[in-house]
C-alpha cells in the first residue's frame, strides 16, 4: 500500500512518488479532446513557434491531473482530498517524463479526520520542477 497511514504519518515524510509515461504529442491530443481545451498552443507546432516557443508544450492541467492521481494514491481515495492547489511555474514539453513528489508539512486533527498538509510538485527527468503546490488530505483516524 503506497498510501499514508493516519497512525504513522509524520511531518517531513515523503509521499510515495508517481512516475508517468513520457509525454508525447499524442498525449496532448488526447488530453485536449477529453478536457475540451482547443488551445492550438498544445497541438500545433507552427502556431506555438509563431508565438515564440520551440514547439507545442503540455497543458498545465495535464500535469495537475497527474498530481491528482498521486494524491489519490497518497490519501487512499478521492474523497480524502480537501484542497489542492498548484502554480504552473515552468513549461512541460513532449519528451518529458514527469514524476510527482511531495512531503508532509503539517498534521492536525479535525473531528474524525487527521488532516495532513503537503507540499507537492512535478519534476521532469532532469529534476527540474514544473508545477509546485500544496494539498490538504483528510485521513480517517479510525
Amino acid at each position: 500500500m503506497a498510501g499514508l497511514d493516519a497512525k504513522t504519518v509524520r511531518v517531513g515524510q515523503a509521499l510515495q512518488p508517481l512516475t508517468k509515461p513520457a509525454i508525447t504529442k499524442d498525449t496532448l491530443k488526447r488530453y485536449a479532446a477529453a478536457s475540451g481545451d482547443p488551445n492550438p498552443m498544445h497541438l500545433d507546432d507552427e502556431f506555438a513557434r509563431n508565438s515564440g516557443y520551440k514547439g507545442v508544450f503540455a497543458h498545465g492541467m495535464l500535469s495537475m491531473g497527474y498530481l491528482g492521481e498521486f494524491l489519490v494514491q497518497a490519501a487512499g481515495h478521492p474523497s480524502a482530498i480537501r484542497r489542492f492547489k498548484t502554480r504552473f511555474a515552468k513549461l512541460t514539453w513532449p519528451g518529458d517524463v514527469i514524476t510527482c513528489k511531495g512531503t508532509v508539512t503539517a498534521i492536525q486533527d479535525d473531528g474524525a479526520a487527521r488532516v495532513v498538509d503537503c507540499d507537492i510538485w512535478t519534476e521532469n527527468q532532469e529534476g527540474e520542477k514544473k508545477l509546485v503546490g500544496t494539498a490538504s488530505l483528510a485521513l480517517p483516524r479510525g
Binding site: 495537475m64 491528482g68 492521481e69 478521492p78 474523497s79 484542497r83
Partner: protein, 141 residues
C-alpha cells in the same frame, strides 16, 4: 484593464449532467487506470471539474475580452480546487463563475494583471460539491 470594481461580478453560469463516459474518457487521457473512474457509476478524478466546467459553461474568448485581459499574453498561472465530496456520474451540477479577486504586480518587465475566477458547483439539493479558483495572468500592453 481589469479593475477592483469587477470583484464579485458573476461572469457565467451553467448546468450539466455528469456522464460516465465523460469521466472515463478524462481518466483515460490522464493514463489513470483507477477502477473508481470506470464502469456504469464512476466517481470523478480530482481535476475532472476543469473538463466539466468547459463543457457546462459558456464563455471563453468573449469572457477574457470582457475582463480587459490581453488575450495574446494570457496564461493560466494557478489553479486551486476545494472539494466537499467527489463528483458522481448521473448527477446534475449547477455552476456559478464569478470574479473573486483582481490585483496587479509591477516588475522589471512591466505590469502583470491577475484575475482570480472562482466557480462554485452545487448539486440539485443546493449543497456545494466543489470550488475551483483559476488565476489568469496577462501582461499589460
Amino acid at each position: 484593464m481589469p479593475s477592483k470594481d469587477m470583484i464579485g461580478r458573476v461572469l457565467s453560469t451553467g448546468s450539466a449532467t455528469v456522464t460516465a463516459d465523460h469521466i472515463s474518457a478524462f481518466a483515460a487521457a490522464l493514463e489513470d487506470s483507477n477502477p473508481l473512474y470506470q464502469g456504469a457509476e464512476p466517481i470523478a478524478p480530482p481535476t475532472y471539474p476543469i473538463a466539466f466546467m468547459t463543457q457546462a459553461m459558456a464563455g471563453g474568448m468573449d469572457t477574457f475580452l470582457e475582463l480587459g485581459l490581453n488575450f495574446m499574453t494570457l496564461v493560466h498561472g494557478e489553479q486551486e480546487f476545494e472539494y466537499r465530496r467527489p463528483i458522481r456520474a448521473g448527477e446534475t451540477l449547477s455552476l456559478t463563475g464569478r470574479i473573486a479577486d483582481v490585483y496587479e504586480k509591477t516588475g522589471g518587465s512591466g505590469t502583470l494583471d491577475f484575475v482570480v475566477m472562482e466557480t462554485e458547483a452545487t448539486d440539485t439539493k443546493g449543497q456545494v460539491v466543489f470550488f475551483s479558483r483559476n488565476t489568469l495572468i496577462s501582461r499589460r500592453m
